[in-house]
């Protein structure tokens, strides 16, 4: 196989996630606005926000350390790499051997670790509140995510996403209870990880209720742009993950003809749109829960993922 086209497809995938991520966020916002009978901002508003923030000056607290300045880039890089590893429209890309679920969880975990540190770095009370809430959520979301990974690995026999996706698309899968549980758990984890309602409210102006936003309150300019972009990418990442693992149809292999690759890309965008609409509808229909109810909510994910894993030990066919 020629290396150049392979790399080109891999590169296309990396650029694609970068380009699509703000659009997905803009799309979810638009659908939510429409559901509330508002006109809502333009679909490309998130791109404009990023450009606006990049042009703005950075205002730093006097006591901000190097960690505070470096964190936005770390978060952006880690999230981008993680998002680019997930097969979006094609499997078997050049770097797909690295597309290991555990690696992705680790990348996101590192990003969160640095964000929580940066939140506490300048010593404002909101940063501290945000960091403590974020870590409380993470302490349940991460084990749940790992258990989901175990379930999938037990079913598909690998933690590598290309293999998992290929297995899930094959007729060998059948109807499995454990996979259903994993899907629900993954959706819950995705909602919590992306700071969506009912766990957090991405649109709030109430500093006391914030989780993610409270940690980034002190950021401005290009630093904020990086963090915002990272959260767009994270949403895209989870949507891609859900669609790659649970709706793998339409994925093409990397060596396919360009027309097929294009078809794969169109299918992918369609999946994003469907997931985006579902997310918007869900968020419109539900109020945010009390901070102390979040562990219950995530506990459901943890229990389902655990049950899914256990079921697979009881029976290979469940």
């Amino acid at each position: 196989m020629a290396l150049i086209p392979e790399l080109a497809v891999q590169g296309a995938q990396m650029v694609l996630v970068l380009l699509l991520a703000p659009l997905l966020t803009g799309f979810v916002r638009k659908v939510k606005a429409r559901l509330q009978r508002r006109r809502g901002p333009s679909l490309i508003q998130p791109y404009r926000d990023v450009v606006r923030l990049m042009r703005k000056e950075v205002v730093l607290a006097d006591n901000a350390s190097w960690l505070f300045r470096v964190t936005p880039y770390l978060i952006f890089a880690a999230t981008w790499v993680a998002a680019a590893l997930i097969p979006t429209f094609a499997t078997g890309l050049t770097f797909s051997w690295t597309a290991d679920l555990i690696a992705i969880v680790a990348l996101l975990g590192s990003a969160r670790f640095f964000l929580a540190l940066a939140g506490m770095d300048v010593g404002t009370s909101f940063g501290g509140i945000g960091a403590s809430r974020e870590v409380m959520i993470a302490s349940l979301a991460e084990p749940a995510m790992l258990l989901i990974v175990f379930s999938l690995a037990l079913v598909a026999g690998a933690t590598q996403l290309s293999t998992v996706a290929a297995f899930m698309a094959s007729p060998d899968v059948g109807l499995r209870v454990s996979l259903g549980m994993s899907l629900i758990a993954l959706v819950i984890v995705a909602i919590a990880e992306n700071a969506r309602i009912p766990v957090d409210n991405p649109a709030t102006h109430l500093e006391l209720t914030m989780v993610h936003e409270a940690m980034v309150l002190e950021y401005s300019g290009r630093h904020l742009a990086m963090i915002e972009f990272a959260s767009f990418l994270k949403l895209l990442l989870y949507v891609s993950l859900v669609s790659c693992v649970f709706i793998p149809w339409g994925l093409v292999t990397s060596g396919a003809r360009p027309q097929l690759l294009l078809l794969g890309a169109v299918t992918y965008v369609g999946k994003l749109a469907v997931c985006g609409i579902l997310l918007a509808v869900f968020e419109t229909a539900i109020a945010k829960m009390r901070v102390f109810r979040v562990p219950d909510f995530l506990g459901v994910a943890l229990m389902l993922a655990l049950l899914g894993t256990l079921l697979l030990f009881v029976s290979r066919s469940l």
Binding site: Q36, S125, P198, H205, L206, A285, A287, K288, R290
Partner: protein
Amino acid sequence: MSKRKMPGLTDLIEAGRPVEYHAPSKRALVAPKVWNLAVEQLAEGRWSLLGLWGEPDTVHMALLDEVRDIGVISLQCPGGRYPSVGQRHPPALRLERAASDLFGLSPQGLPDTRRWLDHGQWGVSHPLATAPQAPAAASSYRFLAAEGESLHQIPVGPVHAGIIEPGHFRFTASGETIVRLEERLGYVHKGIEGLMKGSPVDRAARLAGRTSGDSTVAYSLAFARAAEAALGVDVPRRAVWLRALMAELERLANHLGDIGAICNDAAFAIMLAHCGALREHVLRASDAAFGHRLMRDRVVPGGAASDLSEEGTVAIRSVVAEIRQRFPHLVELYDNTASLQDRTVATGRLKGELARQYAAGGYVGRASGRDFDARRSPGYPPYDELAFDVPVLQEGDVNARVWIRIREVEQSLSLVEQILERLPAGPIHVDIAGPNGPREGMAVVEGFRGDILAWLRIGEAGMVERCHLRDPSWFQWPLLETAIEGNIVADFPLCNKSFNCSYSGHDL
């Protein structure tokens, strides 16, 4: 002594030296002994404090007794000193601190002597005293302490992440649980009372309408009624009814906005979108009917400033029909969304006894079982001719405050319909040039937040000598501090919005 018959407010006032002209209730200069007797009645919870305000050498206290008589007692303060009310009746604390900042009166025995409205930024201290002094040396504000292991403080505001009024909140929390909340207000002090001093009645009326923007009709009405009482003016019937129409439209718009905003603070944005649209339609109908969205300066001493046209009537009727059709669905949505109910039920509970002690007006008091509505008692026209209920609930949580608003929206819709049905014809304004000489008037008017008290004295040449406007928030802000105790930090915005106290009206 214990068998002694409890003196009523009227007995107390008769025991004093009544002033020449004070309408509709009475005011008397009393001796310190009588003053203390009144404070005792307050402290024992038999009477309610309606207001406390100063003058350079006098302090006044408006009271409501158990038979719902209203009156004012005044005490001369030789050397600016008088026995503190706040030391025995805490609701007076902040009012006394404010009077001390403005007039230099020093309440003897007041447990809290920190400045309240004066943040050391005025360039002068005691601006309304006979001889204002140079500003006192700036000192940092000492927040009340909370002791315990692993407590931490969270300062919030006065500049907030959202576009709201400025106020500082100091939380002491143990993890997420709030141990103590202390408010610091006064950031939007505009000097309304100072500006009113010596100004003609019409200018003072305009100032009163700018005390708190969302209650401009209620404030204008309170001021106008007080001025009319002082001058003995009879307002034409049509004007009285038009004013009530405006007041109900204002209540409708604000309650609709609040219901949506409370739900939005629980991240249930769809309620805000729908209620916001309804509120906007009420404002537009008000604009069509009276030429101003918030109806500012439409209530004037002597009547109303603009008459209701045929198109205006049609606009109001159509918005009432729209709300009648759409609002029940929103109420159903509120009631049937379990995730939303989970946030509002049992959150920020205010005890009934505290609501009574503080004489909390409006939805704050009525959601905690305090059955008081100034439209009914003391009552003012045209409400005596209109049929309406005053909803009262006992729970005192955020949910109860939402439900009081929902019920009041329904009552206001019915009131608007009744008024439009029976609006009398005739003139809408009379001249208010009245007799000279010191004449005093007082009015209690029900705004959407609760009862607003206006007291004024008109002096020689018809100029306002002293005017005091007491926002309902004076007695609601302190209750927010207690309602939030034991709740979690993240629930504060929801509780705060359910109180929706005015910063501007409180800071004057």
